[in-house]
Each structure stands twice: as C-alpha cells, then as structure tokens.
Amino acid sequence: MSYRKIFSVVNEHTVSTVIARYAVSMAVSCKAELVLYAAHGEGSDESILRHTERHLDHLFTEAFELGIHVTRITEIGNIGKLLPSRAQAEKADLVFYPLMSYERYGADLQRHAVHQLLRAISTDLAVVRAVGMAKPHPAHILVPLARVVGDKERRLMFIAGLAGSFHSRVTLFHLSAELDTKGMPDDITSFGKLLQQQNITVLERSGRGDIGKSITVEAITRHNDLIVLGASERGLLQRLLFSNPAGDVIHQPPCNTILFRPGR
C-alpha cells in the first residue's frame, strides 16, 4: 500500500520549498500524483504572492522534470478552512504542511492554521518544521516511539515511504526506565521488522530521562537528519501537568522534524 496523491503546501517562505522536496521525493518513490497547494489570505501583500508563485514555479519545474504528475492550486482565503475541503475533494492521501517558527504546536490556546488543520484534515498529515535547507534528502531518520505503536499501518506507510524515497536508515528510539531488564518493547521490535520487510535499514536505540531532551541529544549525537514524531495524544490537562515532548522538540528542533498525524 502506498500513497496515490500527495499535497504539499507552499508559501512565501523558503522552508516550504524544503518540505515540498520531501513531497516530491515521496511522489517519485510512490509513483503518486503531487499537488502543490498555496492559499493566501484576502488582501495579502503583492510580494507574498510573488514569492509564493516563484516557489511554485521552481518546484513545479523540478517535479515535472522528474516525471511526476504534478498540478498546482492557488486559492484565496483561510488555509485552515480551504485546505481540508480541497484535500478531501481531491482525494489526497497525505498532506505536507510547513510549520512556521511562530506556530507553537500543542499550545491549544493559540489559533494558528496548524491547529485548525489538525482538527479538520482527515488524511495523513505531516506537519514539518524545517531548520535548514541543506538536507532535502535525509540519510538518517530518527523515529521516537512509545511502548505501544498506535496507528501502525498508517505510520508504517509514511515512514517506509519517506525512508524508501531517500534510501535512509531509520533509527527507532524508545525511552524507558525498564529497558535494561526487558529489552525493547515487542511492539517496537515488530514495527522494525515490518520496516525491514520493505527493505529499510533499521536500528534500535534506547535512552532515559526527559523525553524531549533525550530525543534532541540522540538526534544530534548520532547525526540524524530528520526526526519523525507522532502527534501528541495527550489531552490539554495532561500537557499542562506533564508537558508536551513532541511540542518541545518541534519548537526547538535540532534538525528538520516531522510531526506525523495519521488520517482518520
């Protein structure tokens, strides 16, 4: 099973081109259609429109030359409302969304587009925070996992698709105080085997301590180019009391980081 239609949101920021390159590579690998999507608020500045169009032109050309079936869509309005309906209408399987530095994931009291999209989009959603332009093709992907891997099928499809596109090595990373005696949780080991069946090189690593800090330290010390986190399933109260590791990592990421929210 693989993606058939991938959306990538492009805007006036250069980081959106980095994220779009992930989408382009996955589209090549999965032989999927690619839709380059832009939405501008009403009354947007002319320079924003110009920069966005320039990025769209650049990416469209790149995708076209790679033989991908690519279309570009530009709409006027609130992206938080337009994108979910467009993605549904176009029957998209996966949407890449570039997270800006001012958008704080997990801060429910804020009303950024990403929060609207998390609620409204029904497809697989990859919210990407890019910190650099140098590694559009990551060689090492870090995937932190909890003891029980939720939405295994969707998660497998995404990670396998991503790693397969770039021939990347995937490191499954787990934190537990009990690891020394019991080894890696069975769910993670079986997930690793499923990835290996898709010809992905898999490593297993463990750590202890604060989740957010440990993920960051692991990513830097092991030279990972990309982190793929699961969207936090903690409720508001849980996040207030016990913090939000995914939010902490994506707010100050050591490298490009994807927050993957499986489709409903």
Binding site: S101, V131, G132, M133, T216, H223, Q252
Partner: protein
C-alpha cells in the same frame, strides 16, 4: 542528494541562491524566517526563578516554617517576643537569598564578558555586489566571501576556492588544517572537503561559500544545544547540605514534639507546651548555617579567583575538592598550542632544508606577525631563525590531503629549484639522491632504509615529521612542476610543547590521590609522547582510539578505564562524553578540562567542568563551572586545594554552630523537669544563633587549607559532612561543656542573689535578668574558646598558629562587642531582656573557656597519636 554531493549549479538551485548572491530584500525575508545567526542561551532560568529558588530550598522552607510558627504564636499568645523572633528569621531568609543570588549573578556576568566567538563582520555578495554585514545578519542562501584570517560565520558549501584552507580545531579538536575545494563529495558532511562550519578559521587562501545553516542549526549551534540539554550532576556539597538540613529538621521537630509530650505528661498547659516546643525547634535549627555556607563558598571562590580559577557556580568550589579523577584535553591544556620545530635531521644539507622550509610555504608576513597554518608558521619561523635564503616564486602545486605534499618552483640566486615538503611517506619515494661531502650521491637500498628508520624513530618520539627535498632545474618546465628525481634535504620534527608548570601539577595530583586521564583528538603516538614527557604516564601506554571506543561494549570499556597509563586518542565529542558518563557511573567524582566547542557536552556532564579562559571557546566557557583565567593546568591543583579546604571548613563551623544547641536546650530541660526559672529566653537564644555565633563561624569558613590537605586522598563519596563523630563532638562534648558553663554562671548569680530552690522569680526582676544574662555570658565565653577548638578537628591550634586566622580574631572581637552591647547597654538590655552582670561572673567563666581548649587539645593529641600508631 545531500548538500555535499551537489554540483555547483545544484547548490545554488537547492539553496535558492545565485552566483550573484541573494537580494537584500530576500535576505530580510529569510532573516525573519530563520532568525538571526547567533547562538542562543538554551534553557537558562530567568533571574526571577533563580532568585525564587533561593527562597524555596529545604533549609529556607524550614526557616519559613519556624517563622510561621512564631507569627502564629504571637497571634494566639502575644507579648512573648515571638513577633520579633519571626521577623528576625525572615530577615535571615531574605539576607541569605539575596546574598547568594548576588554572588552567583556577579560571577556569571564576568563570564558573559568573555563571549566573543562568532565574527562580527562578514563579506557577502548581494545583488551582485560585495558588501560587509554583521555576522548575525547572514542567512541561508547567502554567498559569503572568505579570506585568510576570517572566522567562518555559518555552515556553508564551498562553490569557489583558491587555496582555501581552514582550521577546524574549534569544532573537532583536530589541529590539522584542511585545504578545501568545490568538487562534490560523497562522504559524510563533517568529513567532506567542500564544507565549512561556523566558528572555524580560514588559515589561508580565499573562496566563496553558500550558507545552508545558521545559528542553532549549525554544527556549532547543535553542540551548544546538546550542552544545554545535558543533565548536570548534582554537586556533592548540595547533596550533603540537603542531608544535613534534613537531619536537623528531624532532630528539631522530634525534639519539639518530644518535649511537648513530656510537658503534657507533667501537667503543663497546652499553650506553655506549644511555646516550649517552638523554642526547642528554634533552638535546634541552626539559623546561621545557610549564610555561613554561602559566605564560606563565596570567600573560597574569591581566593580561587586570586589563584586564577574563576568560579561560575558556588557549588563547584566544594565539588572540585572532592574530585578524584581529571579528564583533560591535550592541546591548549597540557600543551601551549604552539607548534614548534623541535629537531632538524639533516646531516649534510641543513642550509637547503631551511630554504625549502622557508620558501615552500604559504604563510603571510604581516605587521601583526606571521599568519598561516600552525605547522607552516613553525617551519617558516625556524627557517628564518636559521638564516634561510629567500627567492622568487614562479609556480606552485598546493598542498593536498591525498598527496600529502606541496611543491613550489623558485628562482634562487639566478638558479631554478623545485622545492618540496610533505609527509615522509609521500616525499621519500620521490627522492633519488642525497648530499654527502658536498656531492650528490644516489640513494641506494641501505640509504633508503636508513632514511626510513630515521623517519620512524622521529615519529615514535611523537614528533610530526616533515620531509624536505629539492631539485635544481636547467630551465623552466613546460607543463607541471616535476616532482621526481629529488634530492633529499632533511627531516624536520615538530612538536607542540607542554606547559612548563604541568609536570609539577601532575605530581601534586598524584600525591593528592587524583588520577589524570588524557582525552584528545590528536593521534595516539603524539599523545603518548607528550604524556611521557610531562610525567602523566610512566610505563607502556594503553591507547584507546575513538573508533575503538565506539565499537567497544560498555562493560569492556569500564575494564579498560581501570588501567594505568591510559590515553584516549582521536576522540570525538560524543566519545568524550561517553567516557565521562561511564566514569561517573563508576562512582568517580570527575572533573573535565577543555577549551573547544567539542568539549562542551562533557564539561556540562562532569561534576566539575573546567574551561580555559584565554584559549577556550565561548561555548566551552559557558558550559563550564570553573574557568581558568591563565589556562594553566597547575591552577586546577590550587583550586582543588581550596575546594578541599572548603569541605573541612564547613564541617568545622557546623561543629561550632551545633555545639551551641546543647547549652540552649539544657536550660529548657531544667526549666521543665526541675521547675527552675527559665535560664535562657528565646531572644537570648536568638542573640547567640543569629548574633554572637555568626562572625566567628564565618571566620572558620575562611580558614586556610591545612598543610597536609594535598597529601591525603580525596574524601570518599561515603564520607558525609555531618557524621556521628561530628554530632558527638558537638552535642555530647563541646556542647555539654558549654551548658555546664552557662548553668554554673546562672546558679552562681542566683545563689549570690539569695535565691533558694523552688523560689519563684518574676521575669522582670533584676536578679532573674542578671541570672539569664550570666547563662548567656557562659555560652558566649565558651563559644570563644570553641572557635579556636573548631579551627581543626585534629591539628593543634599551636601548630596552626593561634593568630594565623585574623578573621577569627576579628570574629571574636565582634562577638565581644555584641555581647557588651547586649549586656551593658540599655537598648541591648531592653531588646534581649538582659541586665549588666558583675566582673566576678566573667572571672568564673574564664576557666571554663581555658579548660575547653585544654581538654580539646588533649583529645586532638590522642587522636593524632592513635592515627600515627595505626599507620606504623
């Protein structure tokens, strides 16, 4: 597709840049998108939270509780003076918190002034024009122009290079410079020769690079980020103070509850028992402990600063004293980081060796001095000192990391020469002749073997060996400079000399029972040679390289760490932190020294991180607990000495402070059990705990290190600040003697005033006030003797010198002045419910003070004798 693998055009395309750079408008947009190109402080606590922490640690909470009890008691039963007591306790909390906060704030500010890593101004091409901008303004996609002497502002990909050579030492720790090119590379990012990294230095040449990562996204920034995320080990003193305060809390609350119960059983009223319990708690809690610990640490840190060790965190002072293992870097810490020519082996051709060294060289001579690669600078300086000739350069084949040699074509005195220098294994095969008695003779098999053997011998001494050769030409070459048919000139052996004071410092470490392990990014033989030279190793070295470290299982590495003469070579930052972690897990108290960015995570992880102040990077200095202002390894030994003294001094003043608890408790016990008038009031207790005891206790904190402190091993981890021996000495011996003095004076005044047993006395009567004052005077007098006794647990005060600690004398003077105020002035009398006492009371108390010293000196004598007999 990774940045290092891209072709020239692909780099511009991927980074959305052009050979004319980006526009100014685009730069502004990207700056808003990626933020400024700077290293942010990660996870620093706000000033408010740091100040708040001073009010919420355990002892402060205990004092808050005591103050709350006082205010509650005053509300329920006013007029007992508890309001004043509560306010006084609050004053202690606030003064201590603010004092500690100011100390830490001042030392941190001193460190902040050392921050100067990223360059200020950078040349970039925007809109097709070269301009200068602040380094903080550089954005991804910028086309930066690098020239000799520049610091690289951000991580970038080389797109044009003209002998562009960089030194990555600030990032990787390796002292070798690297010549870069713009050709694609399939290797890992840090290994590729077409990349430059923020914080590194351009040694020579020039080039253009396209930025792909700025600020915290650079390799430099990532190290700063993980440095901020490494969990610091809690200092041993912090653990001990927490333990002491918990024990004190248990004793205080148990005592208060116990006496409340006893009071209830003997039929006293609830309110009387409650007041009594509060009195017991307040008497037991050493309110003066916190300020004296803080001031002792602060005074020690000032003494350490005078010895060139700047302390950033007060807890690091004592932590350094408990260290039993130092992991030290080599270059810049044990050595001077100055490559020099140690030896020239050129039996027949020294002049030509000098000529090659001087002319086959790309250093730049400026008004500020010689600029260039450290190895080339060393060769050039040596050659100039030897009087080598100059010439006109006509051509060059630049140094290449694969070929490992460099060639130049020169005209010298009208003659044409090819001059070649490089690694022995690269240059020797090209040599076909050598000079002997002024004649050029072929190199036969035995001569070749001799040269190889000499090369190996010099390398085994830890020298970096440069082979020098030349060839005379009849005419200018038509194509490439010919590199074969050379005449061998000589070998130059280079070495980074050790710091002169290091051997003695290592001997001091050895006698103090502190083990030193070298962890370096340099090669094994070089590291071993230096280690032998400075006396770090005595036998056969055990060298573990970084790649072995990575593949070695932790269990095996733990066993290797126990071996003597251990050296870690070719170590990466991750390896270093891994080794430090294992040593800490193994129960060692570890200090780590370093100066590079690569040292920062290990500096943070260790119990004490020690950075170099002069040569150290700002990231290393910020991660460290202590900064050596003179980069001198020997200063660490002095700092350890001071740190050890701190633990001893804190234990001494705990003994001193705790001793006064017993004479404060005994009066209450007497009052409860025997029905005598209360011999000591709460305000008088406060006068001792917060008044007369404070300055002498502080003076104990300033005691100099005892003469044998560096001849003893580090204190064991299991040894605590507060031990049974300390409690017994304070409570059962010194304290009881003080109680005896106080109660004797009390009863003396009552007896001479005509009081008889079970007679009630009004609390405002002169006789009662005088009697309680006499009890107070007894405590004060014996505390004066106690401060001398507590200067050392085992060494006689006559050995130390009675007057050697002038602060003790000043403390006693202030104690007597305060006593005089309390006892002989109306305001003092009114505040503390006292009355003037006769001289006869003091005459009665003097023998108690003298006998305290006599008895304690006798005890110390027997303890020393017993210890000496045990040794034998």
């Amino acid at each position: 597709m990774r940045i290092q693998t891209l072709s020239h055009d692909e780099v511009f395309s991927t980074l959305l840049s052009t050979p004319q750079g980006i526009t100014a408008e685009e730069a502004t947009r990207r700056r808003a998108e990626y933020g400024p190109n700077e290293i942010r402080e990660v996870h620093t606590r706000s000033m408010f939270s740091r100040l708040a922490a001073q009010f919420t640690h355990f002892l402060a909470l205990l004092l808050w509780f005591a103050a709350a009890l006082c205010f509650l008691s005053e509300y329920l039963h006013p007029g007992e003076g508890l309001l004043r007591l509560g306010i006084a306790i609050l004053a202690v909390i606030f003064i201590n918190a603010i004092f500690t906060f100011i100390q830490e704030y001042r030392t941190e500010k001193a460190i902040e002034e050392l921050r100067k890593m990223l360059p200020f101004r950078v040349a970039v091409i925007r809109n097709g024009t070269e301009i200068e901008v602040d380094a903080v303004e550089v954005v991804p996609g910028d086309l930066v122009v690098l020239r000799e002497g520049d610091k690289v502002p951000a991580d970038a990909r080389v797109v044009q290079a003209s002998r562009l050579t960089v030194n990555n030492a600030p990032l990787t720790g390796e002292s070798d410079s690297r010549t870069l090119s713009d050709t694609p590379c399939e290797g890992e990012l840090l290994d590729c020769g077409n990349m430059v990294f923020a914080g590194t230095l351009v040694v020579s040449g020039s080039g253009q690079v396209v930025v792909y990562a700025t600020g915290m996204a650079t390799e430099f920034g990532k190290i700063a980020q993980i440095t901020g995320k490494v969990v610091e080990e809690v200092s041993p003193l912090h653990l001990e103070i927490t333990r002491v305060t918990r024990m004190v809390a248990i004793i205080a609350v148990a005592g208060g509850a116990g006496f409340f119960l006893i009071g209830s059983l003997v039929g006293r009223s609830f309110w009387d028992n409650f007041l009594f319990a509060i009195g017991i708690i307040i008497a037991t809690v050493p309110e003066g402990l916190l300020p004296t610990v803080t001031l002792s640490l602060a005074m020690a840190s000032r003494r350490m600063a005078r010895r060139n060790a700047l302390v950033k965190s007060l807890n690091a002072v004592e932590a350094l004293g408990s260290v039993d293992l130092i992991c030290t870097d080599k270059t810049g810490t044990l050595t001077q980081n100055l490559m020099t020519v140690k030896t020239l082996w050129s039996p027949e051709d020294p002049a030509m060796s000098g000529t090659v060294a001087r002319l086959c060289n790309n250093v730049t001579v400026t008004q500020q001095g010689i600029k260039g690669d450290p190895t080339e600078t060393a060769l050039y300086n040596y050659a100039v000192e030897q009087g080598a000739v100059t010439g006109e350069r006509l051509g060059e084949i630049p140094f290449d990391a694969d070929r490992k040699r460099m060639a130049t074509l020169h005209r010298i005195d009208g003659k044409l020469f090819v001059l070649i220098k490089g690694a022995g294994e690269s240059v020797l095969p090209l040599c076909t002749s050598r000079k002997k008695a002024g004649l050029s003779i072929p190199i036969d098999t035995s001569a070749a073997a001799e040269l190889k053997e000499m090369l190996q011998t010099m390398a085994s001494e830890g020298l970096r060996v440069i082979a020098l050769a030349y060839r005379e030409l009849d005419q200018l070459p038509e194509g490439e400079i010919p590199e074969e048919g050379l005449t061998f000139a000589g070998f130059m052996g280079l070495l980074d000399p050790p710091r002169p004071e290091v051997p003695q410092a290592l001997k001091d470490c050895h006698s103090a029972g502190i083990r030193v392990i070298m962890i370096t990014g340099d090669a094994g033989p070089t590291a071993a040679a230096i280690a032998r030279d400075i006396g770090l190793i005595t036998g056969e070295p055990v060298i573990i390289e970084g790649r072995e470290c990575v593949s070695m299982p932790d269990e095996q590495l733990r066993e290797e760490l126990k071996k003597d003469n251990l050296i870690f070579a070719r170590m990466s930052p991750q390896n270093k932190m891994h080794v430090v972690s294992l040593l800490i897990e193994g129960g060692h108290r570890v200090a780590v020294t370093g100066d590079g960015v690569n040292d920062a995570p290990a500096l943070k992880k260790a119990h004490v991180g020690i950075a170099m102040g002069l040569a150290g990077t700002s990231v290393a200095r910020e991660a460290a607990d202590i900064v050596l202002l003179d980069d001198n390894f020997a200063s660490i030994v002095h700092a350890i000495e001071e740190g050890r003294a701190v633990f001893e001094n804190i234990r001494n003043f705990i003994t001193y402070i705790f001793a006064s608890n017993i004479p404060e408790l005994i009066p209450y016990i007497g009052y409860i059990l025997f029905g005598i008038p209360l011999p000591l009031t709460i305000m008088q207790i406060l006068a001792v705990d917060l008044g007369t005891d404070m300055f002498p206790a502080l003076a104990l904190g300033a005691e100099k290190p005892s003469p044998d402190i560096m001849q003893r091993p580090p204190r064991p981890k299991s040894e605590h600040l507060l031990t049974r021996g300390v409690l017994m000495r304070a409570y059962l011996y010194l304290g009881l003697w003080e109680a005896l003095a106080g109660m004797s004076a009390y009863f003396y005044v009552l007896h001479t005033g005509g009081w008889s047993w079970s007679q009630t006395l009004a609390t405002t009567s002169t006789l009662y006030l005088q009697a309680t004052t006499a009890c107070l005077a007894g405590i004060i007098m014996t505390q004066i003797a106690n401060v001398f006794a507590c200067r050392s647990p085992n060494i006689s005060i006559f050995t130390l010198g009675i007057f050697s600690n002038r602060l003790v004398l000043a403390g006693i003077a202030s104690e007597l002045l305060l006593a005089a105020f309390i006892i002989y002035t109306p305001p003092g009398n009114a505040l503390f419910a006292c009355a003037p006492i006769a001289a006869s009371v003091w005459l009665l108390l003097i023998p108690f003070a003298i006998l305290l010293i006599v008895i304690d000196e006798s005890r110390k004598y027997f303890v020393r004798r017993s210890a000496a007999q045990t040794k034998v």
